[in-house]
Symmetry: C2
């Protein structure tokens, strides 16, 4: 693992093998840090998700948080709790999924910890990223009159999950975003200086838009007719499904926001208003958009 983990990032002055890793931010940069805990039964099921998908998903959650700040990833840290009876092969495939994604984004695995868990796999992933000083895109920058945008399409992963809950055996293909979500790092970096606020959609559009509104002390109106609902997904999936790992952001009305960034569609879906209420309209009727949390696999 130590050998595999040795990456080329110059910011990682010292990786696995000492009491700590040593990170050396470049001049004029600050570091962003996120941590995501994934627990078997809550965030994934071994009978549904191949180990490679679990490894990919655990790291993708963190990379998506880095993207949501407009930052670029630098290093990852992996803490693994493994039940005694877990086959070594499962661990190897988990690491394959994790390290393949890390390599693609030039993220160095710089540390971690392994311990025995009593039941089920536990993976806590910390990702450190870098962003030019003062340029991180926060949740708190939205202002009344800003336009709301979303990258890619929404609801696809939730619709896949629904099929599995209905008993369907879904093959974990590499292009199936539920199994192999794609963090929007490249899109996010192009949004620095453009987006006034940003978040990644992990809990569902309704919840994550509410987070932006709360932190920015504003309200929002979503135009239902504009929502980029994924093929095979319902409006419900797109609004509340979660695990899309798309970027939800705002920009000034007069800002130039391309309809495609880094090969990913960017869609205008509404606007920011005064007040604190989040609503949705089909231009005939308007209703409150209730924040309905992503409840993982606990049902």
């Amino acid at each position: 693992l130590r050998r595999q983990a040795r990456g080329k990032r110059r910011e990682v002055a010292l990786g696995i093998g000492d009491d700590c890793a040593v990170l050396r931010p470049r001049a004029g940069e600050e570091m962003v840090v996120t941590t995501d805990l994934s627990i078997e039964g809550t965030h994934f099921r071994r009978e549904w998700h191949p180990a490679e998908s679990v490894g990919h998903r655990c790291l993708a959650r963190g990379l998506s948080d880095i993207a949501a700040m407009g930052a670029g990833p630098v290093a990852a840290f992996l803490s693994l709790g493994l039940p005694q009876k877990l086959p070594q092969r499962w661990v190897n495939e988990f690491l394959l999924g994790f390290l393949t994604l890390a390599k693609r984004f030039e993220v160095t695995l710089a540390g971690g910890d392994i311990a025995e868990s009593r039941e089920g796999v536990v993976a806590d992933v910390m990702v450190v990223g870098a962003v030019p000083r003062g340029k991180a895109i926060l949740r708190s920058g939205a202002r009344a009159g800003d336009v709301i945008y979303v990258s890619g399409s929404l609801g696809g992963p939730a619709s896949t999950l629904k099929r599995m809950f209905a008993g369907e055996k879904v093959r974990a293909k590499k292009n199936e975003r539920h199994f192999f979500p794609e963090p929007r790092i490249a899109v996010a970096q192009k949004l620095r200086g453009v987006a006034t606020s940003m978040i990644d959609i992990s809990d569902g559009l309704s919840v994550d838009l509410a987070h932006i509104c709360e932190e920015s002390k504003v309200g929002a109106m979503v135009n239902e007719l504009l929502l980029p609902v994924a093929r095979n997904a319902s409006l419900e999936d797109a609004l509340h499904g979660g695990e899309d790992y798309e970027l939800l952001f705002t920009a000034r009305e007069n800002a130039h926001v391309p309809v495609e960034i880094a090969g990913v569609a960017v869609t205008e879906i509404g606007w920011i208003e005064r007040g604190g209420s989040v609503r949705i309209t089909d231009l005939k009727k308007t209703r409150a958009l209730k924040a309905r949390g992503w409840e993982h696999f606990v049902r």
Copy 2:
């Protein structure tokens, strides 16, 4: 929690409440990062360890790693997996133990994650520290002829653990180092420019000295007669017990190392040799010092 977490560290530009925390290292400093996974049944038992002790211990592990680099702590991140039936009071007391220790070392709780675990408490703690650029004390700097030192005393926590395994009910007093270990941050910072290599004793002297020897490509000789064995502890506890969270370090033969640093005794316990073998002597007989791992509570 968010309110409690707001610390005063200037290096934490943005704490809990966004997709990531933002850390702003001071000019000329680099960051050290460590992560420690603590799992109920493996690292602690709810029937033995009060929640306050568990919270303290989880953070102390990370702070001790920061000390082992000669660094100072800045921010902590806490990922908690909690079983559904866990009383809220347990969580509150865990946080009390965690945050009391954090406050004492001026560490800001800058982020984290909470999820439901199927069985048992899981706590992954990440600590970020700062050290002047290039000044981190590594495991790899020991050279033949260096003197080996250890802070404090050894074996105390292991002897407490043994008593509990023997069925004794031990009260978790604040001055009982098994329950409330003391990270040697102040000692460590005084050792920058003095220590040639350093590690904290978490797995036991025999294991951690072997780590220094391996990374430095040297051997070592421990003088059994000099070991600062804790009161009520055996030589065995001191050599292999673990969880001492004392500092084990080397310095050049001609370096000035005080016998007490920041109120903590510092004891010379042996010397570094060429070759790769780690041995122990009572000046009559010499034998190999086998690295016997700390096996936590799995017996």
